[in-house]
């Protein structure tokens, strides 16, 4: 923000100088020296060349500003990737402990427990390895964070990623708003169930011309009256002063050229975004 303001002031100063020189030259054209044509022509040329030079300078400033913004965005993405890599490394580091635990459970003849433990491990490791392939590291890091929240709440969250989102034109912050609201709602919906039944599934896939995001949960089905108005502001199954999340989701989805549908049982939100083929 501060840098943007500096750019404005710098550009305003440059334009202001060009403007003042322009006024001075026009004053010269009105003065007694207006009869000396070479002086007037010379002053005009100076003023014009100054104006053109300033346009070039402004263009350069804007290019630099664009590069700086790109750099800042890449730095944020790099942070997200590093965070994800740290998680993967931590999992690899822990794997021997988990294998030891599974081996010990099997040695003790507790096969059911061993199977449950191993299934839990497979889910966590599988989810993380799926996320690594996403071309949008911010989304990968965001989903990793949601996975950790789900584990803390004893919710089984399956994430199935079969595309890299390379041609998705939706900005990461918009996608975080959409998925964040849907996953948050899903977590709240299953929290009332016994731990073994708390399940959320997120599927990210691509058909030829569009991307599909599906979020479903094992919570109570939606009432048909609610289902019809669920995207309206203020409509919520969670009590008064709620119900802005899904309205926001619908707005963001539609602003990015997408569509959203809901199914009542199991509660499933299906979002489609058109794929934009990158040039070159």
């Amino acid at each position: 923000m501060a840098t943007a303001n500096h750019s404005y002031w710098l550009i305003a100063a440059l334009l202001g100088q060009s403007f003042l020189i322009n006024i001075a030259v026009q004053n010269l054209q009105l003065s007694q020296y207006a009869f000396y044509k070479p002086i007037v022509i010379g002053a005009n040329l100076v003023s014009l060349s100054f104006y053109l030079m300033i346009l070039l300078l402004i263009k350069k400033i804007l290019e630099l500003r664009r590069q700086q913004q790109l750099l800042e965005q890449k730095e944020t993405e790099l942070d997200s990737v590093q965070s994800l890599l740290r998680t993967v490394r931590a999992q690899r580091h822990d794997i021997i402990n988990h294998l030891d635990t599974v081996y010990a459970l099997l040695s003790l003849g507790k096969e059911v427990l061993a199977r449950e433990y191993a299934s839990h491990l497979v889910q966590i490791a599988g989810n993380t390895s799926h996320l690594i392939w996403l071309e949008q590291p911010v989304i990968a890091a965001f989903l990793q964070n949601k996975l950790n929240q789900a584990i803390a709440k004893e919710i089984t969250m399956y994430i199935d990623v079969s595309t890299d989102l390379k041609d998705l034109a939706v900005k990461p912050y918009a996608l975080v708003t959409i998925l964040g609201n849907l996953l948050e709602n899903a977590m709240e919906a299953v929290e009332t169930l016994p731990p073994g039944q708390r399940q959320i599934e997120l599927e990210i896939s691509r058909a030829n011309l569009y991307y599909l995001f599906t979020v479903s949960n094992s919570g109570p089905p939606l009432d048909s009256a609610i289902k019809d108005v669920i995207f309206q502001p203020g409509v919520s199954t969670k009590g008064p002063d709620r119900g802005l999340g899904l309205a926001t989701v619908k707005e963001v989805v539609e602003n990015h050229g997408g569509t959203i549908e809901v199914e009542a049982d199991p509660v499933t939100f299906r979002i489609k975004f058109p794929a934009t083929i990158q040039q070159g």
Partner: protein
């Protein structure tokens, strides 16, 4: 002191203000509503009309014009203050550059020693403004069509 005739206010200053406001908002990818545009242009041209009647030396009205246009971009077009300042300076600097090219040529063609010699004659004054308005229209049109220049990157 320059007393702008009313015909020039309506047929020269008002269209020029419309173009300047479109140009300035186009720099920031804004498309003002027709009402805001008309109100802004009316304010700008009427203020300009009265300022020109004050006994200021040539150029002071242009400096006041920067302040007026900045306020219009800021308060009526809802650009933020920094954008408004840049928009008003960019529009007036561009208008100035066009005038610097055209006025000496027009003065020469009309046999005038100074372009101010055309001021007492409303028709001549209007005639001299036509090429300027055409060039400004073309630049504004190309700005909106190609969405070039600053592209909202500030």
């Amino acid at each position: 002191m320059d007393k702008m005739p009313l015909i020039n206010l309506a047929l020269q200053s008002f269209p020029e203000s419309i173009l300047l406001l479109l140009f300035g908002s186009g720099l920031f990818k804004r498309c003002p509503s027709i009402y805001r545009l008309l109100i802004g242009a009316a304010l700008s041209s009427i203020i300009s009309y009265f300022i020109r009647r004050l006994p200021f030396p040539y150029g002071v009205h242009a400096l006041i014009g920067v302040a007026v246009l900045t306020l219009i971009f800021w308060l009526i077009f809802n650009l933020d203050f920094n954008q408004s300042l840049v928009a008003s300076l960019a529009t007036l600097a561009t208008l100035g550059a066009i005038e610097i090219i055209l006025l000496p040529v027009e003065s020469h063609l009309l046999g005038l020693n100074r372009f101010s010699e055309a001021w007492p004659d409303p028709k001549l004054r209007l005639l001299m403004a036509v090429p300027e308005l055409i060039i400004l229209s073309l630049i504004t049109y190309s700005l909106y069509r190609a969405n070039r220049c600053f592209k909202g990157d500030l």
